[in-house]
Amino acid sequence: MQLSKIKKDGKFRVTQVNPANECVCRLMSLGLLPGQEIRLTHEAPLRDPIAVCFEGCHMSVRRCDAAEVEVEAI
């Protein structure tokens, strides 16, 4: 499942990232690597961007970039 599609309830684990996307590449240097747990905390009023939380870090990510991260429910 793409990170851009996850719902607020539930926890997810990163399975795959696309480092060719510059945003994802930056998220990786912040620790968003395969195996990392992640959850959705907020959606902006116009549904984009979304706020995700991993390793105690809250980041705002646009949906188009979040689509480049694959996750699975845990």
Binding site: P19, E22, G31, P49, A51, E55, M59, S60, R62
Partner: protein, 728 residues
């Protein structure tokens, strides 16, 4: 000075939101100076850090960054400083890495990148108190042992741990401890060696291993721009090395993150002890449930902005009255002393004292506005605002990060334009810079206040006046949005949208001390930069309005006056005053500025301006806030008037067209007031802004934006006047 050459230099580095600035302030106190890095305009803060009674070092506050992957200007500066490539500056003797205890792993990622640049290091574990409160326990001694560098717990915003940090720095300057570095796998080593041979040995480049890593790991690293090897050659060398790395089984874009975290994870094993009662959802997340809510979040946001502007409108009043009173007293005092020399008297009273008063009067409003901006930033709300607003900016190629510089531009475009440096993408940054002068800066406020006070408030009451003021702050945005869209369409043609990620830091209660420091800085900044310009302009404009003072005009006016009164020269005080006012008006009309205003008045006629308003508008091109003192002089009230001046409002009400088809009709009405406000809202009447755009981009952009915005402002002012005139 031999002393400063001997002095040690220490660099302070850390992720954003780790309290790095608080630590810098705690270590240096007020002994700091702000400048720019040579060549670029990234703000450079340098302070004096007293380690003990014998040793004082120079502390350099580097821009906050998550990693050294030199993609933004900030990151490139950081790499250049740490590598010793900044113009005329050697490698720092020590680097203090500020690490947020709560995000140890992510923060140590940066420390590990710094370690590869081979600079001695001390780590400050900041926010120790927050971690303790949350039940996090860190084994400092073990961490220190594993990393190989001193680790000192600090609470920067309470100034705790600073003496321990000073002691650690003092001994580290002797011992030069270096953080443990990862042992890279064979393919990485090979590629780095290949780069070293090609660039360092064959082309004589000065590159440390850490810098070679930047070239290898970062897609289009900015480090490459610094090399003197021809760029096509550099590109092909780097491309070959990256291909080789891929061939060795590592994706060059992903390799660094994967390998560094693989190295850091075991180092942090058993270091962090989370206690059982650690809450799953933090307090910040709870607050965000409301502040980032689809409906409530936006309501709070709009409400907050409204409060800010109403506060600036009303809270500053008493302070401004005080300044006004003081200026007036000083002018009367000086006028009394200099009655024997009328030219000098006019220069001192109208030019000099009026000039100082003209910018000091802004201070209350600027300080209140900066207080609010500081509160928003320090509390962590600023990035929430960017999160809420991001989608609104996306369509025109900007992002939520443009929000902060643009909001800052509401106080003053100069810090706002400087704040765009946090925007990584140069084109996004350029568009933000070009539309920043359209945000209604505080220098426009007096013009709004004067005209609203004179034409809106008396007729429609204070609440409509407040609403008009609020609306005026959005006029610029209405023009800025389509302008940004058009610029994006032309500048970014064929480029993919720029990546945008942003941290939502935990909410913090702003520290009184740091708010005070920021207000002090902004006030000082305004007085030094804008104040001097305004002062100089006031004096120059005084001269243009005072000279050439042709002889004979006074006699001519008196003769006319006598003729009107059938030869009787009244000696009543009212008559004498009226006569002197007429003499002044005649002198003004004959002055250089008066002549020029009359010359260009036809251009502004469609906007409803007579020559006096035109002179005021022309005179305020170097700095828009001088319009009020100019109008004061034009209406023979002296340059010391301000937007609260009743005399000036009265003069507006009395002003009549002196010639042309509308002779005898009042010059000012609601249409002229609105047209004038719109002109001021859109026009780039600020020499300092033109200069800063030239510095951040180049003179071509600075001049195009100056002429472009003037044309837009003129067109809008004409449109507003014509439409309103039909309606009223």
């Amino acid at each position: 000075m031999p002393e400063s050459k001997m002095r040690y230099r220490v660099a302070l580095i850390g992720n954003p939101n780790t309290g790095k600035t608080s630590l810098f302030n705690a270590l240096t106190g007020l002994k700091q100076r702000v400048g720019n890095y040579s060549g670029v305009t990234v703000e450079k803060k340098v302070g004096e850090w007293v380690l003990d009674e014998k040793q004082t070092v120079e502390l350099i506050d580097l821009p906050g960054t998550y990693s050294l992957s030199a993609k933004s200007i900030d990151e490139r500066i950081t790499v250049d400083i740490l590598g010793g490539h900044a113009a005329g500056q050697a490698v720092p003797d020590l680097v203090v890495v500020v690490v947020d205890v709560e995000n140890l792993q992510r923060n140590l990622y940066l420390a590990s990148q710094v370690a590869d640049l081979d600079v001695p290091m001390v780590i400050a574990l900041n926010c120790w108190d927050v971690a303790e409160r949350k039940g996090l326990k860190i084994d400092c001694a073990l961490l220190q042992q594993r990393l190989g560098v001193p680790v000192v717990p600090t609470v920067a915003n309470r100034r705790r741990g600073t003496s321990e940090l000073s002691a650690a720095a003092l001994s580290a300057l002797e011992a030069r401890p270096k953080m443990v570095r990862p042992s890279w796998p064979e393919p990485v080593k090979k590629c780095l060696e290949q780069l070293r041979i090609n660039l360092v040995e064959q082309n004589g480049e000065k590159l440390k291993e850490g810098e070679l890593m930047r070239l290898l790991f970062d897609h289009q690293s900015a480090v490459a721009e610094r090399l003197h090897t021809p760029s096509h050659e550099t590109e092909s060398i780097i491309k070959t090395a990256r291909e080789q790395l891929r061939f060795g089984g590592f994706n060059p874009d992903a390799a660094e993150s994967l390998l560094r975290y693989r190295f850091l994870n075991p180092l942090l094993m058993d270091i962090i002890e989370r206690q059982a009662h650690l809450k799953k959802r933090s307090r910040s997340e709870g607050i965000d449930q409301i502040l980032l809510h689809r409906f409530w979040g936006l309501s709070v946001f709009v409400g907050m902005m409204y409060v800010v502007f109403q506060a600036v409108y009303s809270w500053a009043g008493p302070f401004m009255a005080l300044i006004e009173g003081a200026t007036e007293w000083l002018q009367n005092f000086a006028a009394g002393l200099l009655t024997s020399t009328p030219t000098l008297q006019s220069l001192v009273v109208d030019g000099i004292i009026g000039g100082v008063g003209a910018f000091v009067i802004f201070l209350p409003q600027i300080l209140i506005l900066f207080l609010f901006i500081a509160l928003l930033e320090e509390s962590g709300y600023m990035s929430r605002a960017a999160f809420l607003m991001d989608k609104l900016f996306q369509w025109c190629g900007l992002n939520g990060k443009s929000f902060v510089p643009l909001l800052s531009s509401y106080a003053c475009a100069i810090p706002g334009i400087m704040a765009t440096r946090t925007i990584g993408d140069p084109k996004t940054r350029m568009i933000t810079i070009l539309i920043a002068p359209l945000m209604s800066c505080s220098a426009r406020l007096p013009v709004y206040l004067l005209l609203i006070g004179a034409f809106v408030e008396p007729v429609y009451g204070p609440s409509v006046a407040g609403a008009t003021l609020f609306a005026m702050h959005f006029v610029g945005v209405l023009v800025a949005a389509p302008l940004a869209w058009a610029l994006n369409k032309t500048l970014n043609r064929g480029r993919p949208p720029h990546p945008f990620i942003m941290e939502l830091p935990p909410y913090r209660v702003p520290r009184f001390r740091s708010l005070l420091l920021r207000i002090h800085e902004s006030g000082k900044d305004f007085v030094v930069r804008a104040g001097t310009v305004i002062f100089a302009m006031t004096v120059v404009i005084w001269a243009l309005l005072y000279f050439p003072r042709p002889a004979g005009i006074e006699q001519e006016v008196i003769a006319n006056y006598q003729a009107e009164r059938a030869g009787i020269l009244d000696s009543k005080p009212e008559a004498v005053e009226e006569l002197s006012r007429r003499v002044d008006a005649a002198y003004l009309e004959q002055s250089y500025m008066g002549r020029f205003g009359k010359l260009v008045q036809p251009v502004f006629a469609p906007a409803g301006y007579d020559w006096k308003i035109t002179v005021g508008v022309i005179a305020s091109f170097p700095a828009r806030e001088v319009i009020i003192s100019t109008l004061g002089i034009i209406y023979a009230l002296g340059g010391e008037v301000d937007e609260e001046s009743k005399d000036l409002r009265q003069a507006f009400a009395n002003a009549r067209w002196e010639s042309g088809p509308r002779r005898g009709e009042p010059v000012f009405n609601l249409a002229v007031a609105l047209s004038l406000m719109v002109f001021f809202a859109l026009c780039m009447q600020c020499g300092a802004t033109v200069a800063i755009i030239a510095k951040e981009l180049n003179w071509t952009w600075a001049l195009s934006s100056f002429f472009g915005l003037t044309a837009i402002a003129w067109a809008a002012a004409v449109a507003v006047y014509q439409i309103t005139f039909q309606l009223i």
